[in-house]
Amino acid sequence: MSSLIISILTMGVIAAFFAYGLSIAQKKFRVEEDPKIDEVEKALPGANCGGCGFPGCRAMAESIVAGKSKPDGCPVGGQETANAIGKILGLKVEKSERKVAVLMCRGTDEAAKIKADYRGIETCYAATIVQKGNKSCSYGCLGYGDCVLACNFNAIEIGKEGIPVIDREKCTGCGMCVKACPKHLLELHPISRKFFVFCKSLDNGKTSRANCKNACIGCKICIKGANNEEIVVENNLSKINNIEILNNEEAMKWVGKCPTKAIGFLE
């Protein structure tokens, strides 16, 4: 019994000693922090998603207050958050356009050929390790939904056609799906941009055509008629350079020309 009391007393005394020491130290070594950091942190979404490149919202807030990051640096919060932060810091916030994720592949179940029967772990990452996946096209979307899992906002689901469909309203542009895709098929683009080359295949035309109906085959038809270097074909893949001319009638011409419909508008 006595040993019980002694141990409780000893522990209590030791704990009290350290607690007292810490409380003194706390007062003595107190560091004044900018109260703005707390305010900015409150204005941020607080999801700690890491989309901004900092480990959490707190680190981002410190960086914004220090002037190292822009108030609109949070990809999740969007314009509202940027305005709120701008108010706290007394800064004017330029309007920045919301970015959303876009899938750069139209290798649907119907269009893309399958080269093997994959029965392993059902994630894109695992499937990629085995011979770059079960689709004939080694650049194409596998449709196991690593991006769906990565999305914290339920903005992606695997559609009827076997490839992810992105809800452009729900997408916050945090970029987690971009990191999750082992094929690097997801990209962030301004929401107003609807005109893309929906293919990443660098195979030659013949192989691409054999692998997938919707692939860019590098036929260069799109280049003809387009002056300047608005659109170029590099490594068997068409690439749009001049973003200014997007969405206009001009673009429609290319969509019509493309024999495989790899160039097109988002639905």
């Binding site: 040993s3 002694i6 522990m11 030791i14 810490l22 130290a25 390790i129």
Partner: protein
């Protein structure tokens, strides 16, 4: 002479990470960049030295006097947690650049088993004050050495062509194993 031997023993022969497998978590987690690894090593060395002294004092002046050796674990954790807090506040006040360099690693040290292992080893081997202090500093430097070596190798690995399934944790653990084998070669150096 005995102290020098003890020092070398804990830097190389009984290296906390590679011979005793304590503190493997930060060894794998914080060894991607040499800078970060070195900062972490410094923080651990610092905390280890203080812990060695404090835990020795608490053990000899309090626990042994009241015959409470069974409370070692609890008390040592208390001591370490408090000390890390104290050190964190102190560093934040005195040197903000160092505080930023140590960053998240300082609070992480609280749960580092190498530190608890050090405190327990000192009490187990019944070292005196000076021996304990030397062991703390030596252990910390040994930890830094292991971490920096590992970080150096991993920086080189970035450019290496590693088979896909072995990338990341796989190759890191294999390297850790090979390094431990290498360090086991020092085993006969000091008893």
């Amino acid at each position: 002479m005995e102290l020098i031997l003890l020092f070398i023993s804990f830097v190389i022969v009984n290296n906390f990470v590679l011979s005793q497998f304590l503190g493997v978590c930060p060894f794998l987690g914080v060894s991607k960049k040499i800078d970060a690894a070195f900062s972490m090593g410094l923080a651990v060395t610092f905390v280890m030295s203080i812990t060695a002294v404090a835990s020795w004092a608490v053990n000899n002046f309090v626990l042994k006097r009241f015959g409470l050796e069974i409370l070692e674990y609890v008390v040592f954790i208390l001591v370490i947690a408090s000390l890390v807090q104290l050190v964190e506040m102190f560093v934040k006040k005195v040197s903000p650049p160092l505080y930023r360099a140590l960053g998240i690693y300082l609070p992480l040290i609280t749960t580092n088993c190498a530190i608890l292992g050090l405190a327990l080893l000192i009490s187990l081997k019944e070292y005196n004050f000076l021996q304990g202090l030397v062991m703390g500093i030596g252990g910390g430097i040994g930890f830094t050495l292991a971490l920096v070596l590992m970080a150096g190798i991993r920086e080189e690995l970035e450019a290496a062509d590693i088979p896909e399934p072995m990338k990341g944790a796989g190759i890191t653990l294999i390297i850790a194993g090979i390094m431990a084998l290498g360090f086991s070669g020092f085993a006969g150096l000091i008893k």
